[in-house]
């Protein structure tokens, strides 16, 4: 493997992608809303509800539907704290996965389909870089970016959550073990899923937007997890997170195998 060529492609892809507003804006706006604004709203929502005299019964109703394991996790907190911990620690956990999924998808779309759209792929295919090196470089660029952005978002979120909820909780309560496993075990797998799906989509897509719109469907399983948690069907316990991670890694492995088989320069060249 020519690591020099791989590094050069990764660096170039990052440089080119960072000049595409379609890539940069979602990476800035989504974390800003989810990991900076959202914690403050959720941390102060119960207080604002009490101050306005609105009933907090809805929280009771919500928590009553939750699995017993989650109620155990929230044991020891008062009603207001339960609401804060539930929303910031558990409700947002599946939403966090949208981050690596979206970043890897958007980068992969720019790297694979975007390259085709900009008509820069042909010259790249004439270089001595092998199919495998090209494949690894394209995947690595999107994956490293997605995982890095997710890790950074997690750190920012941890600071924001503890700061925003300090008044009601009074001590550092985030992250718990579930979140650490979510970030270190599930996030890289989900980032992988986003980009492998995009590899398949990009082969046939005409350009960046086309690929991104079609590949965006990959977010559906994450939405299902969110709905499952809000409706009380399941909650993000340590066990569930470990299991979800395992499943996504297995899906990644299978898709990666197929993607590597279909990633042939001859095939790419004839589709230009």
């Amino acid at each position: 493997m020519n690591t020099r060529a791989i590094t050069a492609i990764v660096r170039k892809d990052l440089k080119v992608a960072m000049q595409n507003k379609g890539v940069v804006l979602p990476i800035i706006i989504l974390p800003l809303i989810l990991f900076i604004i959202f914690p403050w709203i959720m941390a102060y929502a119960p207080q604002m509800a009490s101050a306005s005299g609105a009933p907090v019964n809805n929280v009771d109703e919500l928590l009553k539907r939750m699995p017993a394991g989650l109620l155990d996790e929230l044991d020891g907190y008062n009603e207001e704290q339960q609401m804060v911990v539930f929303s910031l620690v558990y409700m947002l956990a599946p939403m966090f996965l949208i981050m690596p999924l979206m970043v890897s998808s958007v980068f992969a779309a720019d790297s694979f389909a975007g390259e085709k759209e900009r008509k820069t792929l042909e010259a790249l295919l004439y270089t001595p870089t092998t199919d495998r090196e090209l494949f690894v470089a394209k995947l690595a660029g999107a994956w490293i970016t997605a995982v890095s952005v997710a890790l950074l978002s997690f750190i920012v979120y941890a600071v924001m959550v503890n700061a925003a909820a300090w008044q009601s909780i009074g001590h550092i309560f985030f992250p718990n073990w579930m979140w650490i496993v979510l970030v270190l075990w599930v996030t890289p797998a989900v980032a992988g899923l986003g980009l492998v799906v995009m590899v398949f989509v990009s082969v046939r897509a005409q350009g960046f937007q086309d690929a991104y719109q079609t590949g965006g469907l990959v977010v559906l399983p994450v939405l299902a997890l969110m709905i499952g948690q809000i409706s009380g069907v399941m909650y993000f316990s340590l066990g569930v997170v470990l299991f979800v991670g395992l499943i996504v890694w297995l899906i990644d492995a299978v898709l990666l195998w197929f993607a590597s088989k279909s990633f042939r320069r001859g095939e790419l060249m004839t589709r230009l």
Partner: protein, 314 residues
Amino acid sequence: MTSPVIQISSLTRRFGEKNAVDELTLDVQAGEIFGFLGHNGAGKTTTVRLLNGVIEATSGSARVLGLDSRVDGSALRARTGVLTETPSLDERLTARDNLAFYAELYSVPRANVKQRVESILQDFDLADRADEKVGGYSKGMKQRLALARSLIHKPDVLFLDEPTAALDPVAARYVNDLVEHLARREGCTVFLCTHNLVEAQRICDRVAVMEHGKLVALGTPSELTRQYVKRLDVDLEVDPAQMELALQTLQSIPQLVIGSVKQEKDILTMTLSGREAIPELVSVLHQKGLRIYRLAPQEANLEEVYFALNGGTQ
């Protein structure tokens, strides 16, 4: 004699029911500028892709620099440079970044990358705007940069796919001069795909003419014109006082002079049935007592070869 730089034997590439390249066999010698002619869809670009191991042949074989394009693609591409029909440049990057990126991919020694990029920017007259994004460049500048990129690693064989198609005459001349310089001074073998026949005639040592994936003619431009262009245009200058007699004589020998004779001042221009008609024509004119001041055959060009091969329909 050294072995050919490019050896192609019965090379075929099929797309669905159509043979894009059909049983192609030819050799290209070291240091040659080899013209690969044909109209759009004749199989030129597919051949370049096959020779560089970018797509696989359905059958047959191709060796470039002794390397089998089917199995040694990566090693082969490390020693070839390709200028694609569209410049294929990253327009969001600067010229310097584009060149540095490809220098890395072609494994130009790390210590030399900066110097090599700088020197090629100078050579191609791009140094002044090297730090501007390529998106703002003119077509000619983009083509020059793309050519510079294809030479960043000093390839032994250069493939050029329609290098002047989108250029104005001045920029086209610049590119052609550069190609000639590379072949004549630096010994680079050039495989030039073009449908610009004037350009091919001017700079190519040998040419191959492709039609629907098949090789229909191969040779030097003069060999091909002799072989395929039977008719010959000639200018005749006689004593001005004998102009009327000359016209009458020429019109009386339709077996030698085809069609009408055009007169422009003291010059008569006509088409002969072939090169072998010249001695007979001189003999007839002499018998009629005409004083010949000048008889100048006009060399046929590749354009006429091309039309002859395509039945005058292209």
